[in-house]
């Protein structure tokens, strides 16, 4: 990072460039595009959680006068296994192909079986009943522990556990095992004077995005097909579709619509390849949109987990050993976020001896998708609960206990590298000094605290800045804006160019108008795409200086650039960016800056959250009465957006801790597939989330930025559950701490 400097635009609370369109309803979301001649697609979904498909008869549907195309898995080209990293981890194309339309088995209630395109939405919906499917119903397995048993119903006959020393002979629902270790775990526990060991569970949860998955497509046999969709990464949508449909990448243009929430869930595809196949068969543009119920039953939720954590410490508060077994439900196909869970569980601690073992387990539920810091909230929930209990056992303040064992620069992580400069200690100090921590609790109230760690990533980003003849500029990027990144890009470009932000317009371009940019996820965009914006802006400044130098007949080295104005250091003459752009045709044509980077040096972010709750001991209902979210942002480009990320993460984590869970019947049917019964927090449920932005700069970014989007969802699970435990005097290890569960805990204890 460059030496400390005064910023003109960075750190301001500017008006968001997309605000007007969104509050006036002018912004175009996934379901907003209609095309001439467009027809509607609908999906026939499995009524069973686990069944073999003996036969699909689509003849009656195909004969219906309003039906224009019917597709099943058999219409798709064969796809071999293999894939790439996106969202929750490695995408396996073969599995993905079977998830968008089932092959010989359905693996969850709601699994797509066939799709119909018809002249109207109602006709398509009605024609679904004309498809006959002959099933052999099988016993489902929904619980992780049950699925791991040797005699459990098998989802896949060809799934053999990866990561074992010996290649297994029998197929299993355990897709893979991971082991991470550091030091000597047995010696660590032998040195401990106090040991706490507990079991935990977290439910399957929804990311809570309001906009359902939606797409409109147009297949062109001889030209370029178009896909319009709500996604966090249209370049990766292009790559996935081209593989699933065996299409040339160049024959696909993908346009990212505005997005009504994603939180990791929109890093994969469900409807897009099916819609394109319907369009190919019908010769018409096709629109498809999931209902809310379909979103719940058949798109990817956050993984359920079952965990056991054991931590030992000396009486002086030194942690000597940390051990965990973390089991993640992947849903119907392998690929839960078990690995990042294993890697993050104990990372807030600088402890000599650690051991983590993780299992990725398939169950008869929808394939899990990424959810904000995928895998980390579940793992760190279990670890932080034991840390809090251990602090109680030792009689040490939980912040002091954490400070004594906190990860810092040079700490050897269990997953490999030593940490660079990080801000956990600063976050803990901020928590200790916060007004909330000094406030006394009232009757029936409890307090909880937890820390959280997330890696953050960099990756590929491409940016072009086109200057116009009036001296304004357009920032063209390839990163869908899911959390206010357009404002950040505008501010970073303005800072570098010295041009007012009102003269710069950020635009998210489609896959034809900007080079590849990785999916918006992993808290990468303000960091990585921001670095590309800075580099492109520097390219613009270099060219503007050269143009001014040409006008003055001096070298570019004799020109200085400040506040959007070029100065001839010899004569003192000045030319503004506007003046240079106005005469650009005389000095070589228009000015464009460009950057294509693969950003390295993403800085991890730590957070510490404080939660105070009040429990009604007659009903078990919990109210959050005060909440403070503290997190290291490195440098907050737009503080309001950073605070918004902290508050959003906290709200989602509070919901996860208190109410949210997919409830399944014994035969694997989700019973609460809607926001009336799946209870996410409303604004009226929560107090104003107080925020503290800690700024420990990341030396790899020109302005010191760290990603901030994900870490904030990690601490709430343990902070809230600890607060509830404190209020009722019973340790709550199974989420959510919903009223019936809390009431039962109170009654059992009394």
């Amino acid at each position: 990072m460059s030496e400390a400097r005064e910023y003109k635009y960075i750190g301001q609370r500017t008006i968001r460039p997309d605000g007007f369109d969104k509050v006036t309803g002018r912004a175009d979301f996934g379901a907003d595009l209609s095309l001439p001649g467009m027809i509607w697609g609908k999906i026939l979904r499995s009524p069973h959680a686990h069944a073999r498909i003996n036969k699909i008869d689509t003849s009656k549907a195909e004969a219906h006068p309003d039906v224009m195309a019917v597709v099943t898995h058999q219409d798709f080209p064969a796809v071999t296994a293999g894939g790439f990293a996106v969202g929750e981890g490695q995408v396996d194309f073969k599995d993905l192909s079977k998830n968008v339309l089932a092959d010989d088995k359905v693996l969850y209630h709601g699994h797509p079986i066939a799709a119909i395109a018809a002249k109207t939405e109602a006709a398509a919906e009605a024609a679904l009943s004309l498809i006959d499917v002959d099933f052999e119903v099988l016993k489902p397995v929904l619980d992780i522990a049950e699925a791991m048993k040797p005699d459990a119903p098998l989802l896949h006959a060809d799934l053999f556990t990866q990561g074992l020393a010996e290649q297994p002979e029998k197929a299993s629902n355990i897709a893979s095992r991971m082991e991470l270790k550091k030091g000597d775990i047995e010696a660590g526990f032998a040195a401990a004077e106090v040991i706490v060991e507990r079991d935990f569970s977290t439910p399957t949860v929804h990311q809570g995005y309001i906009e359902p998955h939606a797409t409109t497509v147009r297949y062109e046999a001889d030209g370029q097909s178009m896909v319009w969709c709500s996604t966090q990464g249209h370049f990766d949508v292009r790559a996935i579709i081209s593989t699933l449909l065996s299409m040339d990448l160049s024959k696909l243009k993908v346009i990212a619509s505005e997005i009504g929430g994603g939180f990791g869930a929109k890093t994969t595809v469900y409807l897009e390849p099916v819609a394109l196949m319907l369009s190919k068969k019908s010769g018409r543009p096709v629109k498809m949109a999931m209902t809310r119920e379909e979103v719940f039953r058949a798109s990817g939720p956050g993984s359920a987990t079952r965990s056991r954590v054991k931590i030992g410490a000396r009486k002086d508060g030194t942690i000597t050993a940390m051990k965990a077994e973390l089991n993640y439900a992947a849903g119907a196909f392998k690929g839960s976020p078990m690995a990042p869970g294993c890697m993050t569980a104990f990372t807030p601690y600088d402890v000599e001896n650690m051991y983590v073992e993780g299992y990725d387990v398939v169950v008869n539920k929808p394939k899990a998708a990424a959810y904000r810091a995928p895998g980390a909230p579940q793992a760190e929930f279990a670890a932080e609960m034991v840390i809090n209990e251990l602090a109680d056992e030792l009689g040490i303040d939980p912040i002091e206990f954490r400070l004594q064992n906190a990860a810092k620069e040079g700490t050897q992580t269990i997953y490999g590298p030593k940490l660079k400069v990080v801000g956990l200690v600063e976050c803990l100090e901020a928590a200790k000094n916060s007004p909330q921590y000094k406030q006394a609790l009232a009757e029936n109230q409890g307090r909880g605290l937890a820390s959280g760690f997330w890696f953050n990533i960099g990756g590929q980003s491409s940016v072009v800045i086109n200057m116009k003849p009036d001296g304004t500029g357009t920032i063209i990027e390839g990163s869908p804006d899911i959390g206010g990144s357009r404002a950040s890009m505008q501010m970073m470009a303005a800072e570098e160019l010295g041009i007012d932000i009102s003269r710069l317009t950020p635009v998210v371009a489609d896959t034809e108008h900007i080079a590849y940019s990785a999916t918006t996820g992993g808290s990468r965009t303000t960091f990585a795409t921001g670095m590309a914006v800075i580099e492109a802006a520097q390219d613009v400044v270099r060219q503007l200086k050269e143009r001014a130098a040409a006008v003055w007949n001096v070298t570019a080295e004799q020109v200085e650039w400040e506040d959007g104005v070029a100065t001839n250091v010899a004569s003192g003459e000045k030319l503004s960016a506007t003046e240079i752009c106005q005469s650009a045709e005389k000095t070589g044509g228009q000015v464009s800056g460009r950057a294509n980077i693969n950003a390295r040096g993403a800085g991890p972010s730590f957070a510490v959250h404080l939660c105070d709750v009040e429990v009604d001991k007659e009903t078990g209902k919990t109210d959050v009465v005060r909440y403070t979210a503290i997190q290291d942002a490195g440098k907050a480009i737009h503080p309001s957006y950073v605070e918004g990320q902290y508050q959003g993460g906290a709200a989602q984590g509070i919901g996860w801790a208190l109410n949210e869970e997919y409830i399944y019947s014994e035969d694997g049917v989700m019973e609460n597939a809607g926001f009336l019964d799946y209870r996410i927090p409303l604004s009226s449920d929560l107090p104003m989330i107080e925020t503290v932005i800690v700024e420990v700069p990341n030396s790899f970014h020109p302005f010191g930025v760290r990603g901030v989007g994900e870490t904030g969802i990690i601490p709430p699970l343990a902070a809230v559950a600890t607060a509830v435990s404190d209020a009722i005097g019973v340790r709550m290890g199974d989420l959510p701490c919903s009223p019936p569960k809390v009431l039962k805990a109170i009654q059992d204890a009394s």
Binding site: A370, Y415, G416, I457
Partner: protein
Amino acid sequence: MAKVIFSSELQLLTGEDHAMVSATNYRDLVAELLSRYENLSEGEIMKMAVAIDGVVIPDPLLESVSSSSEVHFLYRISGG
């Protein structure tokens, strides 16, 4: 020589938890590892990220490696 620390997944293929390797860049380092461990495949390595001296690099190729470098192979993180 650079110290290469293997993840538990790679230890199943190398039979060792670390190796000392003489190389000046990542590509040469991988070539040396592949020649040294017959069970280790390029595919296994390519699906992992690498951390060289604490900096995580998702798509490495020509990154410099010094004689005092510490190199870790790790699961490739994406995010939500």
